[in-house]
């Protein structure tokens, strides 16, 4: 008997004006899993995450989190419920300091000062460079450092589910490896993760399960290892 999914998405559709971006997506993420959603540019990966966080409206379909429907729940309440989202392109608050960025990540947890204090210490342990630069404006960090900041900021929201949108985008291969190592480590520490990536090889390499998204539809879903071995996936996404 499998445990009930942490996140369950049923037949989700979404539009930009008259253009349909998501054509009935169904997926689930179980507690403790690291699930990768891979697909080419424009497949609808970012739209899917935006729709889950409800910063982009769903047209139809349902999203359940811990058994409760959150399809139309306000974004700030979704964060409070435990879904924290690391947006594509980091989206750090550029003029604010690194530490302010992190503390704003704990906005939904701000009543629990002791926890925030402790968690901030953990983030600084995980990413020592952020501690070193904690007074600096976030906009002056390098791309990799901004990605670490964006992840740290989301972790300070005390996530039960972490949504990661293209963490490898625009980073040098060495940094990509570093970021993926951290993602894997976070998952091993018990954070459930839905990772959206164009870099299918790296993402599937650390994931338990994977989905392949094409033009707004899930076309494949399997264990990550099976997807890595799949001929069609290799041809389309892994460059074999």
């Amino acid at each position: 008997m499998p445990s009930s999914p942490l996140l369950q998405v049923e037949d989700l559709t979404s539009h930009y004006g008259p253009i349909q971006a998501l054509h009935g997506i169904s997926l689930e993420v179980n507690p403790g899993e690291l699930v990768a959603m891979v697909g080419a540019n424009g497949a609808g990966k970012t739209t899917l995450l935006h729709t889950l966080s409800n910063v982009h409206k769903a047209s139809s379909g349902k999203v359940y989190f811990e058994g409760t429907e959150i399809t139309r729940t306000a974004p700030h309440k979704i964060v409070k419920a435990g879904i924290c989202h690391v947006p594509e392109g980091r989206q750090v608050f550029g003029p604010l300091s690194v530490e302010d960025n992190l503390l704003l990540g704990s906005f939904s947890q701000r009543r629990n000062k002791a926890w925030v204090e402790e968690e901030l210490g953990k983030i600084y342990q995980l990413f020592p460079i952020l501690k070193e630069k904690h007074r600096q404006a976030a906009g002056t960090l390098s791309g990799g450092q901004q990605q670490m900041l964006a992840i740290g900021r989301a972790l300070l929201g005390n996530p039960k589910l972490l949504l990661l949108d293209e963490p490898s985008m625009g980073l040098a291969p060495l940094l990509v490896a570093e970021i993926f190592r951290v993602v894997r480590e976070l998952n091993e520490k018990g954070v459930t993760i839905l990772l959206v990536e164009q870099n299918a090889k790296a993402a599937l390499g650390i994931a338990d399960r994977g989905y392949v998204l094409e033009t707004g539809r899930v076309v494949l879903s399997a264990d990550a290892d099976d997807l890595l071995a799949d001929e069609a996936v290799q041809k389309a996404y892994l460059g074999h």
């Binding site: 966080s53 910063v55 306000a74 974004p75 700030h76 964060v79 409070k80 924290c84 989202h85 947006p87 392109g89 989206q91 750090v92 608050f93 550029g94 003029p95 604010l96 302010d100 503390l103 704003l104 990540g105 906005f107 939904s108 701000r110 404006a137 906009g139 002056t140 960090l141 390098s142 791309g143 901004q146 900021r153 989301a154 929201g157 625009g170």
Partner: protein, 293 residues
């Protein structure tokens, strides 16, 4: 000559303090929502007029209570403006929102005209009208209230944006609304807070300065323009720049009124503004944004 200049400086700082508060209101709303709110002057007028109305007559409230009531009324007007005029136009261009706020200012002025008529109204001086001598220059006690009140409000605003979570959350909304939502900030509420704060600053400026300048339904027009100039002069979106711009504008006006011609004081103020815009389009204290991707 020196005494005269000292007198002009004192007057300039008093007037400039009012401009600074109005300019600060512009900067706060611009920062939070990218809207240039041309109703900012009307906040000043509504604050002053409400305080006059609440304290008038034998059954009127004591001045301090009337002032608190007036500030609250103005905050409600500010939040209503955001909720019913600005929020429905979400995603509209800057020009559209400017036209909306100009429309709102005409509407608010019209309502004030209907409610209070065209008369000029005073408020009593907070602590007497005996001028204080500084050398050969004089200063009204109310001027000290204006300067001190403005200084306190400016420091309060500075503290709020730099040292409180709520203040930083509003700044976060101004940098990136989507990211702010994604860390759990209720962006709609933050915008309401920003408008309420701007309205409160405007109302307090109006209440502080009305004992000296009097108020009427249309005092907001010129004060709004001056506050806007202050914000532009200092660099739009830089709250402390707006304060500096306000003080500078007050000083320029007062000195040019005294040394050149009082008839041209507004013109000279605006000429200086134009010159600054020609040579430093981002304002005196505006800085290019730092961003790396």
């Amino acid at each position: 000559m020196f005494d005269q200049i000292l007198q002009f400086l004192l007057t300039g700082i008093t007037v400039g303090s009012t401009y600074a508060l109005v300019g600060l209101g512009f900067a706060i709303i611009y920062n939070a929502s990218d809207v240039v709110n041309f109703s900012q002057g009307e906040f000043v007028m509504i604050g002053a007029m409400s305080a006059v109305a609440l304290s008038a007559g034998d059954s009127g409230l004591p001045l301090w209570l009337a002032a608190i009531g007036a500030v609250m009324i103005t905050m409600l007007v500010g939040m209503a403006l955001q909720r019913f005029a600005i929020a429905p136009a979400r995603g509209a261009s800057v020009v559209t929102t400017i036209i909306i706020t100009i429309g709102a200012s005409i509407f608010l002025r019209g309502v004030a005209l209907v409610v209070w008529g065209k008369d000029l109204f005073p408020l009593p001086h907070f602590s007497g009208e005996d001028p204080i001598s500084i050398g050969n220059a004089t200063l009204l006690p109310q001027s000290i209230w204006v300067m001190g009140g403005a200084a306190a409000l400016v420091f309060g605003a500075h503290y709020f944006f730099n040292h409180t979570t709520l203040g930083k959350a509003i700044l976060a909304c101004s940098c990136n609304k989507k990211a702010a939502s994604l860390v759990g900030i209720n962006v709609g509420i933050m915008l309401l807070v920003a408008y309420a704060m701007s309205a409160a600053l405007g109302a307090m400026a109006g209440i502080l300065v009305t004992p000296i300048t009097f108020t009427s339904y249309d005092t907001g027009v010129m004060l709004g323009l001056k506050g806007f100039s202050a914000a532009i002069l200092g660099g739009m979106g830089n709250p402390m720049g707006a304060v500096a711009g306000g003080l500078l504008l007050g000083l320029i006006e007062s000195l040019s009124a005294g040394l050149i011609s009082s008839g041209y004081k507004d013109a000279i103020g605006f000429i200086v503004l134009l010159l600054v815009l020609f040579f430093r389009p981002s304002g005196l204290f505006g800085k290019a944004s730092v961003e790396r991707v």
